[in-house]
């Protein structure tokens, strides 16, 4: 069994979910996504045994395009994140009664398929195809099942689509240009492309546009908060939990090793841009009155730090980026799930209209508290490991950047705790908060277990990813 098997499960699952009908769609989606998760674990087990789990097959001879799915520490880790979060995201949607739910769940699985493909693809064009494919399901998910007034939502979702599509087209041009230089789309061939400094800069910028929009890095972030707010909870989780990781992963997998000279030469500009995003996101989060928007801006700050770490080009930065991608993926899904549970019961997303939840549901309050703590990187949580490594790598680059980046922890603690206080504490008031159901609690426990376990014992993850990172780092440092 190789990694292509996981893609087949997800794709087949999407089709099957559509055909089992509205009533069983959610269960079918859960079963297929769990199967994919199990298959991923098995593939990782085989990879650790030293067996071959990659998949290579020629697709077109001219231009030469290969259906190549590469399995190494980096891609398998991201695959694991995707297939682990997908069942959780499906679970979080169980409480909602969606119209046409079979299409909804089929689209979620299809999106998981496209995102898994993006992480695995070794051929540039195949990677681009998966990258774009993942955009179509999220577009429909946000458009059809989103909240808020239809006209406003339409505008925001279309803006999001055109933004990301525009960015990725420039990446496509960069890929085609590389192909005319090397005659191949395989990443190893592209790493050895022998580009001049100017070429590297343009290629680097082409990639950067695609990734900066998707992550998002300021000033390309304007689509983010509105879409996060308007998309249904599952859509927001897919976007923030997995999809933006595609871009962060691609920085390390594609952008840095292909244009290492540009990455070294302009390192500080890009780090500074990312750190600016960290501060900007934190300050905006301070001022939000809408719970989902607050979480969106806090996410903007956190991923800015991840990108900054990746651009430091040190092993700590890259490893920190991977650790934090996993940690952030779980935390952000948990936080948006908590927001969704509150807004399901209170029918509002305004922080001012909430309050008095802790008195009514201590269980929910304590789980939410742990997630908030993890989000602000309290020692003992997985996020602490990630943020610590990222800040350490920033300190290696420039101590002041690390200081500036570190403000995210202080500001984050401030706005998250204030949010917690306003949302959860206070008198009971008139609003009744029904205690969490078993399903909801179970989902939270899964997420929290992951965060705490790896917070105390991160070695399985770091050991798994480090050898592959060192290989990539060789190409990143190959400047002459």
């Amino acid at each position: 069994m190789d990694v292509s098997f996981i893609l087949i499960i997800l794709l087949f699952g999407a089709v099957a979910t559509y055909f089992v009908g509205d009533k069983w769609a959610s269960k079918a989606a859960l079963i297929f996504s769990t199967c994919a998760f199990a298959a991923t674990l098995y593939v990782i087990y085989r990879y650790n045994m030293g067996e071959k789990v990659s998949y290579l097959q020629t697709w077109m001879s001219r231009p030469r395009i290969v259906i190549g799915l590469q399995a190494d520490g980096m891609s398998l880790l991201m695959l694991l994140l995707t297939t682990a979060l997908t069942p959780i995201i499906v679970l979080t949607s169980f409480g909602n009664l969606f119209p046409k739910s079979r299409s909804f769940y089929a689209l979620i699985l299809f999106m998981a398929f496209a995102m898994a493909g993006t992480f695995l693809a070794v051929d540039g064009l195949l990677y681009y195809i998966f990258w774009e494919l993942s955009l179509i399901p999220i577009y429909f998910i946000a458009l059809i099942w989103g909240s808020g007034e239809a006209e406003r939502r339409k505008k925001d979702v279309v803006k999001f689509f055109i933004y990301t599509f525009a960015g990725s087209l420039f990446m496509l041009v960069a890929f085609i240009y590389l192909y005319t230089k090397t005659g191949s789309f395989l990443n190893l061939h592209l790493y050895n492309a022998k580009l001049t400094d100017t070429e590297q800069l343009w290629i680097f910028l082409g990639f950067f546009l695609a990734y900066a929009i998707k992550i998002p890095i300021i000033p390309f972030h304007t689509w983010q908060a509105n879409v996060y707010q308007k998309a249904p909870a599952a859509g927001t989780m897919l976007l923030s939990g997995i999809m933006l990781k595609m871009a962060l992963y691609s920085i390390i997998r594609w952008q840095l090793p292909i244009a290492p000279k540009a990455a070294h030469d302009y390192k500080y500009i890009f780090i500074a841009l990312c750190v600016a995003g960290v501060i900007y996101g934190s300050i905006l989060a301070l001022k939000q009155t809408n719970l989902k928007k607050l979480l969106a801006y806090s996410s903007l700050a956190h991923v800015g730090l991840i990108a900054a770490g990746a651009y430091t080009l040190t092993i700590d930065g890259l490893r920190g980026a991977f650790v934090q991608m996993i940690a952030h993926g779980f935390v952000v899904v948990g936080l948006f799930y908590a927001a969704e549970i509150i807004s399901r019961r209170y029918k509002t997303e305004e922080i001012a209209e909430m309050g008095g939840i802790r008195i009514q549901s201590a269980k929910f309050a304590s789980m939410f508290m742990i997630l908030v703590m993890a989000s602000v990187a309290l020692p003992g949580t997985f996020n602490f490991i990630g943020e610590f490594e990222l800040l350490y790598s920033l300190a290696q680059a420039n101590i002041w950047l690390a200081v500036l980046g570190g403000t995210t922890i202080i500001l984050g603690a401030f706005y998250m705790l204030r949010m917690f206080q306003q949302v959860m504490l206070g008198d009971k008031g008139t609003k009744v908060f029904k205690d969490v159901t078993f399903g909801e609690g179970f989902t939270f426990v899964l997420i929290i277990a992951v965060l705490l376990f790896f917070g105390l014992y991160p070695r399985p993850i770091t050991d798994f990813v480090t050898p592959s990172l060192q290989k990539v780092l060789v190409y990143i440092n190959q400047i002459n």
Binding site: P63, E132, K154, I176
Partner: protein, 465 residues
């Protein structure tokens, strides 16, 4: 050549069938006939390729016709498109049953014109082909005599088209004056042999202007939106798929044959036309409410994309074929849905598409796929068409125009998605009727072929070898 004769014969049989009151079997017979011709054409293709290479290079009928991979591949595409268009005819013209044979026969004659346009070996044959095609189109544009819009469209198209034909003919005479022959090979030899008088190049530019008009590229595009909108929807479908692709193929073949020594300034002309077409087509399409008109402008921008093949003709024939096939198949699928909606809601404005995603999910899905293909979203063949095109153009070092093309692809998403949004994000206003069987069959087959092309691009590109 056999193909051409067989199709012309089929058209005449169609007219005769009417006399013998066999109206009901006309369409089935024509479609079976065309499928047979397609089969014949294909076997012809493989046999010719092996044995009669000498005859191929010499050409048939005093070099009037040439058979090579290029003409064969495009001929197959044209036959396929005509089958789709004829299959759509009976239901579309159900109120004019008595004229069914005319409509079918005109489309068959149009097809002969299109085939002549890609397999000519002589400029006379080329002109004959383009006139047969154009006259058939004038008739189709005006084929709804009780509608003033249709009359207007026919008249406009005829006047403008006749003017363009005049310029084209003038170009041909200048080329003849410079080289002393209508034969493409002879012209080619003459040009390669030595100096040609300067009016040869004027002739080439005039030929280009005539053909730019036929493919509706800016700045010769002004007729297209009005004619597309005024004509009956099926005629518009014919114009924007079959006719546009045929004119583009002819243009490419002509320039490929004659363009040996054209100075670099010619590239500037083409580049200007390409950039103008893409940009004007896309920007105007953004503002349209009528879907037919929007597709007309989108067709103008696609013509601009296709013009990019002239930067490196020798490497581009496969790319052009792929692009043309992807565009035409998506166009047929989109028009099949448009025909249904226009008929069902008595209008082809974008508001008539509201809520189609709920009332008729299948047709909405097909139209979505067709639009995504035109916008160039991966896995649909439209993406690969643009991808191959950009790859080849970048190889020639023209980075600037690729960037313009990319920006235009982004703009085009705006209006394609406007339609998709209307289908999925708005509520339907009225009840809907059932989709006519033929419309859905044609739409499904066309979109499946489009997707299959995206999955197996090697096969399509290999057709030209």
């Amino acid at each position: 050549m056999n193909t051409l004769i067989a199709i012309a014969g089929l058209g005449i049989i169609c007219l005769i069938a009417e006399i013998f009151n066999l109206r009901k079997v006309i369409v089935p017979i024509t479609i079976i006939g065309l499928l047979a011709v397609l089969g014949l054409h294909y076997t012809d293709y493989s046999v010719l390729g092996l044995e009669t290479t000498a005859e191929q290079t010499k050409g048939l009928y005093n070099s009037m016709m040439v058979n090579n991979g290029y003409s064969k591949a495009f001929t197959s595409l044209f036959i396929l498109l005509t089958i789709f268009l004829i299959a759509l005819t009976p239901h579309f013209q159900r109120e004019h049953k008595s004229k069914l044979s005319d409509f079918v026969a005109i489309k068959l004659f149009l097809l002969t014109g299109a085939i002549a346009m890609v397999s000519f070996g002589n400029l006379a044959m080329f002109f004959l082909g383009i006139e047969v095609l154009s006259i058939a189109l004038y008739v189709l544009a005006a084929s709804n005599p009780k509608d003033t819009n249709s009359n207007e469209a026919g008249m406009k198209y005829f006047l403008m088209g006749a003017f363009a034909s005049g310029i084209l003919l003038f170009g041909i005479t200048l080329v003849y004056g410079a080289t002393g022959s209508f034969n493409c090979d002879a012209i080619y030899t003459a040009v390669r042999g030595g100096e040609v008088p300067s009016w040869f190049f004027i002739g080439i530019v005039m030929l280009s202007i005539g053909l730019l008009f036929k493919i509706a590229a800016a700045p010769f595009h002004f007729w297209a939106p009005d004619v597309y909108q005024g004509s009956p929807a099926l005629s518009t479908a014919t114009m924007s798929t079959l006719a546009k692709v045929a004119a583009m193929a002819a243009f490419f073949k002509l320039m490929h044959d004659l363009n040996y020594k054209v100075p670099g300034t010619y590239t500037t002309i083409i580049m200007t036309a390409a950039i103008l077409s893409m940009t004007i087509g896309n920007i105007m399409a953004l503002k349209q409410d009528s879907v037919k008109r929007m597709l007309a402008f989108s067709g103008i921008s696609h013509a601009g994309f296709m013009l990019m093949v002239f930067f490196n003709p020798p490497a581009m024939s496969g790319v052009l074929f792929y692009y043309a096939a992807a565009y035409a198949l998506a166009g047929i699928a989109a028009f099949a849905v448009l025909l249904y909606v226009a008929e069902d809601k008595k209008g082809e404005s974008i508001y008539n598409f509201n809520g189609l995603g709920k009332t008729n999910p299948m047709m909405a899905a097909i139209l979505t796929c067709a639009l995504l293909s035109m916008a160039g979203i991966p896995i649909f063949s439209g993406f690969f068409a643009k991808f191959f095109l950009f790859t080849e153009v970048l190889k020639t070092g023209q980075v600037a125009i690729v960037i313009v093309a990319v920006i235009n692809s982004i703009i085009s998403v705006g209006y394609y998605f406007k339609l998709i949004l209307a289908m999925y994000n708005k509520e339907a206003t009225t009840e809907t009727s059932k989709v006519p069987a033929m419309y859905s069959i044609v739409a499904i087959i066309a979109i499946l072929l489009n997707i299959a092309m995206g999955l197996y691009p090697d096969f399509v590109l290999g057709l030209l070898k």
